[in-house]
Amino acid sequence: MTFNAAPIHADIAALLPRLRRFARTITYHREDADDLVQVAVERALMRSEQWEAGTRLDSWIFRIMKNAWIDEIRTRVRRDHLFAPEAEGEHVGDDYAEAHQQRMAIQKAISLLSEDHRIVIGLVLVDGLPYKEAAEVLEIPMGTLTSRLARAREALQGLLSDQTRSLP
């Protein structure tokens, strides 16, 4: 083991806001999101010797987080615990600003996407990772990444225009 423990802690701590944002994109609940971040950080620290210095730490932890979430989803499906996405936007009062309602509408639409689509949207559109890094996080070829991203956008676009149409 040649890694130095201290710097990776500081680097991971600096990533926490981005990790929370990504988690918020791919999970359904705030609590799930922070639980997921905690699990990913703990796993990353436990396996920190597997991280190759010089490669992107953010991509590595995103990958750990993605895998942890997929595992969790599978477990919940097995236990029949997969609850429907919380329709956060519906609990929001009418006096909220229009911008806020739009953000809620987008979050809701994203929560209705498939796992694969939510994750790719979270990586590229929310976090802003370049295609190459996003493909590495997902461990898929670039071509698969771009076609998945295109399909995810299409699905999201569709959900958003459905929402608009269903407005009174």
């Binding site: 701590a13 918020r24 620290l45």
Partner: protein, 247 residues
């Protein structure tokens, strides 16, 4: 519609095109309103989605996550514990990871099959499976647990003692690190029983300065479950050591 596929227009909106293609798309956008509209749609979706989550970055990061990212220092253990106790909601999902790993390591040691990374040589010699299957400290680990104070700065490869405390069962317990492993030892008669032992990611062999600063969550958890009151301070630790760790 045009010679550009929608994937290309999407990649344009995402800033992923090489310079030549980018310029070609830009030119096409000027001459073909349909292309311009398609690009604008991709760009708008990108910025809307980005904006929907941007607020998360400005939120204060919960303390439990900051603690998870920082190596929990032994001196901060009380703070970790307090944070845990104040947590209103237990974790909604329980990954079995830590418990399973600790159990695996313990089984590996007990069975004498030391194939687990981080548990070699020194650790093997320092532990033995007792009559009831529990792990007991032996050799230099047992010696260090009985004699060494937490303030000691041990040489490379030696046992490092973390904190000492009185357990809810009324016996003394001490955390320790040795050769890439960390664990908890609790006094049982004249011996030290090891209820938990885990690989220590930070405990690079030879790097004793850092090795002392972090305990794996499994060990922290075990301390958490057992500790009654606060950890012993240096004076109380010394007194307990002089008293042979009997209560």
């Amino acid at each position: 519609m045009s010679k550009f596929s929608d994937d290309i227009l999407m990649a344009f909106a995402d800033g992923e095109l090489d310079e030549a293609t980018r310029q070609a798309v830009q030119q096409a956008m000027r001459s073909d309103p349909a292309i311009a509209a398609a690009v604008a749609r991709h760009q708008a979706l990108r910025s809307d989605v980005f904006g929907a989550y941007a607020g998360t970055l400005d939120e204060a990061v919960p303390q439990r996550l900051q603690l998870a990212a920082s190596a929990p220092k032994v001196v901060q253990l009380d703070a970790v514990r307090a944070a845990r106790q104040h947590k209103t909601e237990p974790r909604r999902w329980a990954w079995p990871e830590w418990g399973a790993i600790a159990a695996t390591l313990v089984l590996g040691v007990a069975a004498g099959s030391i194939g687990v990374q981080g548990l070699q040589g020194d650790t093997q010699l320092a532990l033995v499976a007792g009559k009831d299957g529990a792990l007991m400290a032996r050799g230099k680990l047992a010696k260090a647990l009985s004699a060494q104070l937490a303030s000691a700065a041990p040489a490379q490869g030696q046992v490092r003692i973390g904190l000492s405390f009185v357990s809810k069962q009324g016996s003394y317990c001490r955390s320790f690190m040795l050769a890439g492993a960390a664990g908890l030892a609790c006094r049982d008669g004249d011996e030290w029983k090891i209820p938990v032992l885990a690989e220590s990611a930070q405990g690079a062999p030879g790097d004793y300065r850092q090795a002392g600063s972090a305990l794996p969550p499994a060990v922290l958890e075990a301390i958490d479950q057992r500790i009654a009151g606060a950890a012993l301070d240096a004076k109380a630790e010394q007194a307990a050591q002089r008293g042979g760790w009997r209560r």
